[in-house]
């Protein structure tokens, strides 16, 4: 039992309660664990409110055992609210990836952040801002390949309420497209 810490990717998805960040975390973990046969652990923290307040989901993905279940220093931070960014921007690995909703978050302190108008894109694509979490997953997976696009698509569709599958697929694919524009060389 002396194997070193296996490859471990730590992702933090943060926003306000009601933005669906915890659901996004669950979907990402399902994509890894159910559709790619990896190990994944999802944890969360949230305030007592049903909406508003800070809310975050954490997903740790590894091909091996995952012991400490929470993010220690994020490889990826997705922030959909100002407070979430302020709270978690300092806990990202050197060279880690920041994805922020540029219309909600002032990220000038992190010049390299990937700025995407995630909530506006969600509204323009599906007519519903509630799909912002799915757009964010598209951007995240599109840029990182932390799970395959097929796996995240399956996971999103399995979780989409009946009748919203196409809407969620459109939101996800729009996220992939944004990722490809930002990083055309890296399609996965």
């Amino acid at each position: 039992m002396s194997e070193p810490i296996a490859d471990r990717i730590e992702i933090r998805l943060a926003g306000e309660g009601g933005q669906g960040m915890i659901l996004a975390g669950i979907i990402l973990a399902e994509a890894a664990a159910i559709y790619e046969g990896k190990n994944a652990v999802q944890t969360q923290s949230y305030g007592p409110e049903a909406r508003g307040g800070a809310s975050k989901a954490e997903v740790v993905i590894s091909s091996g055992e995952i012991d400490h279940p929470e993010v220690l220093e994020a490889d990826v931070l997705v922030a959909l609210s100002k407070d979430a960014f302020k709270k978690f921007a300092s806990n990202v690995k050197l060279g880690g990836l920041y994805i922020v909703d540029e219309e909600k978050v002032d990220s000038h302190t992190v010049p390299q952040a990937v700025r995407v108008p995630i909530t506006r894109i969600a509204f323009e694509t599906t007519g519903r801002i509630i799909t912002a979490n799915t757009v964010a997953l598209g951007v995240l997976v599109g840029l990182t390949g932390v799970v395959s696009r097929t796996a995240i698509e399956k996971a999103v569709l399995a979780r989409a309420p009946k009748g919203t599958e196409e809407m969620n697929r459109a939101a996800l694919f729009k996220g992939f497209a944004v990722a490809d524009e930002r990083q055309p060389s890296r399609q996965n």
Partner: protein
């Protein structure tokens, strides 16, 4: 069964159904609410009953009553509710009524912080209800183990006629990880079998085995149940010749079965002079640190407790003889560490405590290993 991403609380609820639980009474409280939520859906499907009670005092009373009536029963709560359950928990200990109580620990004391994690009820689990009494408490380190230990909790509660506490925490309760559950047809738990004729049956017989079988009410066996000290058929008594054998039996009945009840995981390295000892969510942090330390070439052993109470005295004492220092990470100010100190002496124990709702980090444990 297929691999599924499952939450700890969900695994507890499903584990209860798989173990034969057919009655749940509870009052919802964060971070335990999902246990109730899932059972409110699952129990009616298998002919069971789900009742949302007016509070935790009544919840505990209801599960005791349900078990007396013949159904395996459970409740789930968190710190504030666990405090309210203590009186009736003592009643179940004294009247030897099997039942399972889940405590998904959150930061206390009092209302504390509902969504923050803790392992602060460990001593309350042992001594929260007044008077000397036996108790079994188990603590899972993973979602799969939450399922397995729930099944064990029902098994032990029946086998030893005692309440069993499943002491989990907000981290394990709310955490999701992939699990593949066993086929429920393969799951067995202890079934009561009363061989005596109703006229000869004594519900509290002081047998050498320590645990008299329990007959349900309503099928012809007549006995009395009370929170007073009682004789072998359950009637209150002040006679020392009746009380003494009863006290002796009840307070030692778990001792002769410790091989069965005490569950630990020993990951020992020959020659290691340092050891980690942990349980619940903190064991995950400790194991992370263990691997990191071993990767640096350090020799470190680790003892993970699944059974908290009765305390694994023999195992901890033996570990203390092998190593110079035992590091005990836990999400409280050193509750289980007290027991470790009792076994191996204070000088050998290094506590790693965090009691502000945040998990300790592997770095904190590694720092203690470096000292």
């Amino acid at each position: 069964m297929a691999v599924k991403l499952m939450q700890g609380n969900e695994a507890i609820a499903i584990g209860a159904v798989a173990a034969g639980c057919r009655f749940y009474a509870g009052y919802p409280i964060t971070p335990s609410t999902e246990v109730a939520e899932v059972l409110s859906r699952e129990l009616p499907r298998v002919g069971g009953k789900f009742i949302q009670m007016e509070d935790e005092i009544a919840s505990m009373a209801a599960i005791i009553g349900a078990r007396v009536g013949g159904l395996k029963s459970m409740t789930a709560t968190s710190g504030p509710g666990f405090s309210l359950m203590q009186e009736n928990l003592g009643y179940a200990c004294l009247a030897e009524i099997p039942c399972v109580v889940v405590d998904v620990q959150r930061l206390g004391p009092s209302t504390g912080q509902p969504t923050a994690a803790s392992q602060g009820d460990i001593m309350q689990a042992r001594w929260g209800t007044h008077g000397d009494h036996p108790i079994i408490a188990l603590s899972p380190t993973s979602v799969r183990q939450a399922f397995d230990l729930t099944v064990k909790a029902f098994d032990f509660s029946e086998k030893y006629r005692t309440p069993v506490l499943l002491m989990t925490d907000e981290i394990i309760g709310h955490m999701r990880e992939p699990v593949e559950l066993p086929d429920f047809a393969t799951i067995t738990t202890f079934q009561q079998s009363v061989t005596e004729a109703p006229a000869a049956y004594k519900a509290f017989r002081n047998t050498p085995e320590g645990v008299p079988p329990m007959a349900p009410f309503g099928v012809g066996y007549r006995y009395h149940i009370t929170g007073l000290l009682h004789d072998e058929v359950g009637f209150p008594t002040q006679r020392l010749d009746e009380i003494d054998p009863w006290l002796e039996r009840v307070n030692t009945k778990l001792d002769q079965y410790s091989e069965d009840i005490v569950m630990v995981e020993e990951d020992y390295q020959p020659g290691a002079r340092l050891a980690l000892l942990s349980y619940g969510c903190s064991a995950r942090t400790a194991r992370h640190a263990l691997k990191a330390a071993r990767a640096q070439g350090k020799k470190v052993s680790m003892l993970t407790l699944q059974t908290i109470w009765p305390f694994p005295e023999k195992q901890v004492e033996a570990l203390g003889e092998q190593v110079d220092k035992i590091i005990v990470p836990e999400m409280n100010l050193g509750q289980l560490a007290l027991e470790v100190e009792r076994m191996v002496g204070r000088k050998k124990v290094r506590r790693v405590t965090r009691a502000n709702g945040e998990m300790a980090t592997p770095q904190m444990v590694l720092a203690a290993l470096e000292e």
